[in-house]
């Protein structure tokens, strides 16, 4: 009886072990260097398996493609499956070691090790040697050129916009200048002299103001007629600048007399009599007229 009991315990212990089967199926075990070998890992177990990190354990083979682990539970059996593609870039024999699969009850199951042979590509040395092939010409692709085309068009449009704005502002400036130039300098001066005369400042005792305005009118006229900065020049400098314009000596003297007399009034409290004021007023008209006449004659020549 004791003997049967031993046999029962022994058999029961055998049957109580987990039933686990690990298979790795390869489509081939011999390929050329760089070619792909497809593997299928199948695990059939009565207990749940903790799936290993295949990438780590499969080294030195390089994984090209790795599917997710497929699992199912059928007839009290857990079935696991994973597909992967591997390749190798060295020639020779590579051993895929036994892969460990650990069960939840801490049992470890190993697959069988596999051998793969990676062969070098055979060279046909009997053929003639050919040149290295030149790079392949890629046909024009509009999608690739699109950003450059858009950028170029954008740049052209921006440039046109800037050009248009500059032209517009310049036109405005020119418009103002043209407006000023519409009144010829001699007419402007004569009108200003008439306006000054009509104010009768000397009769009102404002002799200094009269001469200040009179010289300002004449200096502004010289400024426009001869393009010399008379408003920022002293009497001597103005006369020197006018001499360069090759004016008649008599006319220069006349201008000099007037400006000098005006300086006396402005800076030395001189008060010329009414007759002198009138003479200088008439002289101012003739200075403007004579200067303009001479300028026109010079231009015609």
């Amino acid at each position: 009886m004791k003997r049967y009991l031993y046999i029962f315990v022994l058999l029961s212990s055998i049957f109580s072990f987990a039933q686990t089967e690990v298979k790795i199926l390869a489509d081939t075990n011999q390929v050329f260097i760089g070619d792909i070998i497809n593997l299928n890992i199948l695990v059939n177990s009565s207990e749940q398996i903790l799936w290993p990190d295949i990438e780590e354990v499969i080294s030195p083979l390089e994984i090209q493609n790795l599917s997710s682990v497929d699992s199912s539970f059928v007839n009290s059996q857990y079935e696991y499956s994973q597909n992967l593609s591997v390749q190798q870039f060295d020639t020779g024999l590579v051993v895929l070691p036994q892969l460990p699969f650990v069960g939840v009850e801490n049992d470890t199951f190993y697959s069988d090790s596999l051998f793969f042979s990676f062969l070098a590509v055979p060279l046909d040395t009997t053929n003639a040697i050919f040149d290295i092939k030149s790079p392949k010409k890629v046909p024009f692709n509009f999608a690739e050129a699109k950003p450059y085309i858009y950028g170029f068009v954008g740049f052209i449009l921006l440039s046109l916009l800037v050009y248009y704005l500059i032209r517009r502002f310049k036109k405005k400036d020119t418009a103002i200048e043209e407006l000023v130039e519409l009144i010829p300098c001699e007419i402007e001066a004569i009108n200003a002299l008439k306006n000054l005369e009509s104010q009768s400042l000397c009769e009102k005792g404002l002799v200094k103001d009269h001469y200040v305005q009179l010289t300002t009118i004449l200096r502004r006229y010289f400024d426009r007629e001869y393009e010399i900065d008379t408003l920022e020049s002293t009497t001597d400098e103005t006369i020197e600048a006018l001499k360069i314009q090759k004016l008649d000596a008599k006319l220069i003297n006349s201008i000099s007399d007037l400006l000098t007399e005006a300086d006396y009034v402005k800076f030395a409290k001189s008060k010329p009599n009414a007759k002198t004021n009138n003479v200088f007023m008439r002289k101012s008209y003739s200075i403007v007229e004579d200067c303009h006449k001479l300028k026109e004659e010079a231009q015609n020549v």
């Binding site: 200040v212 920022e232 020049s233 002293t234 001597d236 402005k266 800076f267 030395a268 409290k269």
Partner: protein, 330 residues
């Protein structure tokens, strides 16, 4: 002041300025080809100011003030500024008098009418400041005694624009105390020919006193009466303000070039110098030409230029030119 006043001033000026021709002629006997410097010396003398002369060696700076001194019969002193000079070497000091067993005051060379401070930038700041204080205050204190300077008192300081190594440039505040800064250039070829020939022939003219110091002091009083119209005053102020706020005068380009503009002392000295210039030209009133004639000499040392201006090789002269060409003449 009415029209008659101006005529009176003109007459008085004609009377009191007669010595100018004599003085100029006497100086021209010795100083050849430096009429601008002579004119500026007269402006400094009659305007009761001091002059900073800048020029290369050998341009008759020392000779000019020495000649002026002789022509006026004044006391001339020359102080050569060196790095080891002490303030007491300039103003004087207390000396122990052994026989009398007491300290007595020994006056320095500054006690003269015409002082030539040669190469002022070679002495340290304490000596410069001793001189400049005497120039400004017109008095010197030695120990516990204060002495007023004799009139006329004209300091002519010279600076050499080259050999700047080991010098002590005058601070802006002290440079401002000089009424004029005159830059002397080489004489013209014709003038230098005369100088060379006179030197080779040993023809040295002897300068005689042609003016008295009393005449100078009287002329100074007459200069004060020269009429300056409000328009001229405003013109001067416009120029001075344009050095301070150029953007307000349409000179925006000058703003980054000027570090500081002319001080109120600048406007006072410009007005005074313009009056003296009018006096020298025998006029009883100031015209814009007078202001422009002295403007460069009065302002060139009062305008501070920035590093940017220095980098662009723009001097205070160029800035003054631009201001004068922009500020409207009355």
């Amino acid at each position: 002041m009415n029209d008659l006043d101006i005529k009176e001033i003109n007459d008085k000026i004609k009377e009191e300025s007669a010595f100018i021709d004599l003085l100029t002629m006497e100086m021209n006997k010795v100083i050849i080809g430096q009429s601008h410097m002579i004119e500026r010396l007269l402006i400094g003398l009659l305007g009761n100011g001091h002059i900073l002369l800048e020029g290369l060696p050998g341009l008759a700076k020392t000779l000019a003030i020495n000649t002026l001194s002789k022509a006026i019969n004044g006391k001339f002193s020359r102080i050569q500024f060196t790095p080891d000079l002490l303030p007491s070497d300039v103003i004087g000091t207390n000396v122990y008098n052994m026989p009398k067993n007491e300290f007595s005051i020994k006056k320095g060379p500054i006690f003269g009418n015409f002082i030539l401070a040669d190469e002022i930038n070679r002495a340290p700041a304490k000596v410069q400041s001793a001189l400049l204080e005497a120039m400004q205050e017109r008095q010197v204190t030695i120990g516990d005694k204060t002495f007023a300077m004799k009139e006329p008192f004209l300091v002519l300081a010279t600076q050499n624009p080259v050999e700047q190594e080991g010098t002590y440039p005058l601070p802006e505040a002290q440079v401002d105390r000089f009424m004029l800064k005159t830059v002397i250039d080489y004489p013209k070829q014709k003038d230098e020919h005369t100088i060379m020939r006179n030197s080779l022939n040993g023809q040295y003219e002897i300068v005689k006193p042609v003016v008295t110091m009393k005449q100078i002091l009287t002329a100074r009083e007459v200069v004060k009466t020269v009429y300056m119209d409000e328009k001229i005053e405003n013109y001067i102020l416009d120029i001075i303000f344009a050095t301070r706020y150029p953007d307000q005068f349409g000179l925006d380009n000058l703003s980054p070039l000027i570090s500081f503009g002319a001080s109120p002392r600048g406007s006072i000295n410009l007005a005074t110098a313009a009056k003296v210039y009018a006096f020298i030209k025998r006029r009883g009133y100031v015209i814009p030409e007078d202001v422009r004639a002295v403007c460069h000499d009065v302002l060139r040392h009062r305008i501070g230029i920035t590093y940017e201006a220095e980098a662009e090789n723009i001097s205070s002269e160029d800035i003054i030119d631009q201001i004068l060409n922009k500020v409207e003449v009355p």
